[in-house]
Assembly symmetry: C2
Homo-oligomer: 354 residues x 2
C-alpha cells in the first residue's frame, strides 16, 4: 500500500538558530515536508519584519528547497505600521505566547486588549494570529498544566468576537474542549494538532520526561477528540508538528534540581509518523488533508503557487522499522520522538512537480 501527498506542509515548527539549525533545518525535507511555518521564539524573539527576513535568509541558506512562512512574536514592540510593513514583506502571521515566557511578561494574555490596535491592523491586512492557548499555572486558582488550555478558551472566543475577520489559529490543541471551541467558531478560526498529541496521554509523560512537552498531553478522552476531528476530516484542523529540538541533556532528568525542557522532536520522521498514527485510529484516508490540503487552504498557500512542489510517496513497510535513536552533526545531537519504536511507513519516492 502506498499514498502520495502533494507538498506536505508543517504549519508549526521551531527551526532555532545557530549550529542547531544546521542539524534540524534539513530534517524538514527528510521528514517529508516542503513547507515550514516558522515560530519566532528565538533569543531574542523575532519582533521586526527586517529580522524575520534575515532569519528567513539564514534558513534558506541551510536548505533553499523548503518554503518558509515567517512569523513575528507578539510583543509591545509591534506597531500597526510594522504589521502593514510585515504584510508587504510576505510575513504570514504573528505568534502570541502566554505570559511568563515573553520577554515582557506584563504584556501577556491577560491584557490582550492592549494589543487590539495590532489585531485591528492584522485583520485589515490579513495577517494570521497564532495563539499558544494556555494560561500560566496558578495554584491559588487551581490552574495547572492540565487545565491551562481549557482555561484559555474564553480568550479565544473574545478575540474571535472582537475581530471576526481576523484569521486565528489555535496552536497545538490538546483537549476536547479546544476542539469543540474551534468548531463552534466561524471559518476564520482554525487549529493545529501535533503528531505526538495524537499518540500520547498524561500516562505517557508521567515519569518520562522525554514525552514532556507544552501543552502537556492530556487525558485519553482528549486524545480521542483530537483523533476524531482528524478522522472526520474537518477542514479547519491540520498538522502543525510543534517539533521542538532540545539536546539530550536538557530532556533527561538527572537530578531533583533539574527539570527537563518541554518539547518533543518529530521533524525527521514527521510524515511517516503521521501516516503511522492516522492508520492506528483509522484515519489514513484523511492524511492528505491533514498534512497538506487543509492547512494550505486555510492559509491560502496552495501547493501550485510555490516553487519546489513535490509529490511525496509513502509506502507501508512489510516489516516495521525502528526509528533512529539519535541525530548528530558536529557538536549538536538530538534524540527524536518515537526513538527506538516501530513505525510502519516510509518515504519511498519524491517527485518534483513542475
Amino acid at each position: 500500500m502506498s499514498i502520495s501527498v502533494e507538498s506536505p506542509a508543517d504549519f508549526h515548527v521551531h527551526l532555532r538558530q545557530g549550529s542547531i539549525s544546521k542539524l534540524i533545518v534539513p530534517h524538514v525535507r527528510q521528514g517529508g515536508f516542503n513547507l515550514a511555518y516558522v515560530m519566532p521564539n528565538l533569543k531574542p524573539p523575532i519582533t521586526t519584519t527586517e529580522r524575520a527576513l534575515e532569519y528567513k535568509a539564514e534558513l534558506q541558506k541551510i536548505d533553499p528547497n523548503v518554503e518558509y512562512l515567517m512569523t513575528l512574536y507578539l510583543s509591545p514592540d509591534l506597531t500597526p505600521d510594522e504589521i502593514r510593513k510585515a504584510k508587504k514583506a510576505g510575513i504570514i502571521g504573528v505568534k502570541s505566547y502566554p505570559r511568563g515566557v515573553t520577554t515582557n511578561s506584563d504584556g501577556g494574555i491577560e491584557s490582550y486588549e492592549t494589543y487590539y490596535p495590532i489585531f485591528e491592523a492584522m485583520q485589515e491586512v490579513d495577517l494570521v494570529l497564532n495563539l499558544h492557548g494556555e494560561v500560566p499555572s496558578d495554584a491559588n486558582a487551581n490552574i495547572h498544566v492540565l487545565n491551562a488550555e481549557p482555561t484559555f478558551l474564553p480568550h479565544l472566543f473574545k478575540l474571535h468576537k472582537a475581530f471576526p475577520s481576523l484569521r486565528i489559529v489555535l496552536e497545538h490543541a490538546t483537549t476536547r474542549a479546544a476542539v469543540e471551541a474551534v468548531k463552534t467558531c466561524g471559518p476564520t478560526v482554525a487549529c493545529t494538532i501535533t503528531a505526538h498529541h495524537l499518540a500520547l496521554t498524561v500516562d505517557d509523560w508521567a515519569g518520562q520526561s522525554w514525552n514532556f512537552c507544552k501543552p502537556v498531553a492530556k487525558y485519553p478522552d482528549d486524545r480521542q477528540a483530537l483523533r476524531d476531528v482528524v478522522k472526520e476530516g474537518h477542514p479547519r484542523f491540520f498538522l502543525g508538528s510543534d517539533s521542538a529540538p532540545h539536546p539530550p541533556h536538557a530532556k533527561s532528568t538527572s537530578t531533583p534540581a533539574h527539570a527537563c525542557a518541554a518539547g518533543v522532536y518529530t521533524s525527521p520522521i514527521l510524515l511517516p509518523l503521521a501516516a503511522h498514527l492516522l492508520e492506528s485510529f483509522g484515519a489514513l484516508n484523511q492524511l492528505k488533508g491533514f498534512v497538506s490540503g487543509h492547512g494550505r487552504a486555510f492559509y491560502g498557500q496552495p501547493a501550485e503557487q510555490h516553487l519546489n512542489q513535490r509529490l511525496v510517496t509513502l509506502r507501508k513497510t512489510s516489516t516495521k522499522k525502528l526509528v533512529d535513536g539519535e541525530y548528530i552533526l558536529e557538536n549538536e545531537s538530538l534524540v527524536p520522538f518515537w526513538a527506538g519504536k516501530e513505525i510502519g511507513w516510509e518515504i519511498v519516492e519524491v517527485t518534483n512537480v513542475d
Copy 2:
C-alpha cells in the same frame, strides 16, 4: 520555637530487602520515627506469617530500636486460617495492591469479591485492610493516573458497607474526593497522607521524574483538601510517608525508552519535613496528632505500650538548612526528596522515655 513529639509513627513505609535495607532502615530513626508500618511488596511479596516474621527479624537485626508493624500482601495465596495465624503472631494488616499500578504490584488484585472470605476473617480477628486506592489506567475508559484514585472510591464504599467493622486504611490519599470519601465513612475507615503529597502538585512532576510517584500528585485543589484535613486535625487522617527508595539511575530519565521508577524517598528527613510543610500551611499545631497520635489511636498502638519510647524534639532553625543531596552505603546510594532545598526545622533532642 521547638516542638516535642512522643514516639513519631510512620504508618506506611517501604523498607525493602538486601543491601538497600542496610542503608534505609536506619533512616527511620534518623528521620525522627520510632514506628514503621512495613509494606509487604518485596520480591516475592510477603504472603505468609512465617515470611513476615522472618522479614521482621531481618529488619530488627539492622535496627532493633524501631517498632516494626508487619503486613501481608493480599493475594490468592492467603486463607482465612492464615489470617488467624497472622493475628496470633502479631501481624497488623493486609495490604491490597491493584494489579500493575505501582512498584512490585504485578500480583495485585483485580476483583475484591474473591477475597470476601479473607476480609470476613480479618474483620473477625481485627486485622487492618490497607488499600492502595487506585484502579489501573485504561485509555478506552478514560482512566489515567490522575483519576485512578477517584475511580477507585466506589470499591472503598462497597467494602466498608460489606464489612462495616473491618478497619480499613485508604493509603496515601491524593484527592479531595478521597478525603471526602473517608470522612463520610464510619470510624473504622482511616486514611494516610504522605509528606510529599502535602508539597507537590501535577506541575511539580511534569517534566521532573524525581517528583514522580504513585499515586501521582494531583491538582492544587486536591493538595488544598489534603492540607485542610490535616489542619482540621481530623483524627482519622495521619502520616504514612510511603517513603520508597529507588537508586538514582532508576529515578532519572536518560533515554526515551527508560521511564523512571515511581516513588519519592522521604525517610531521612521525614519529621523535619512534616514540620516544615505543616508550618507552611498553618497546621503546625496539628503536628503531634498527624505524625503520632491519630495513627497510634486508630491502630491501637499507644506509644506507652512499646519499648523504646522516645520524645523527639524539633527546633525551628534560625537559618534554613539545605537537605543532603545523597545518601551512600557501600554500593547503594539514594537521593532524597527535597534534596538541595531548604528546610526550616531540625531534630535537636531525643529523650528515651522509660
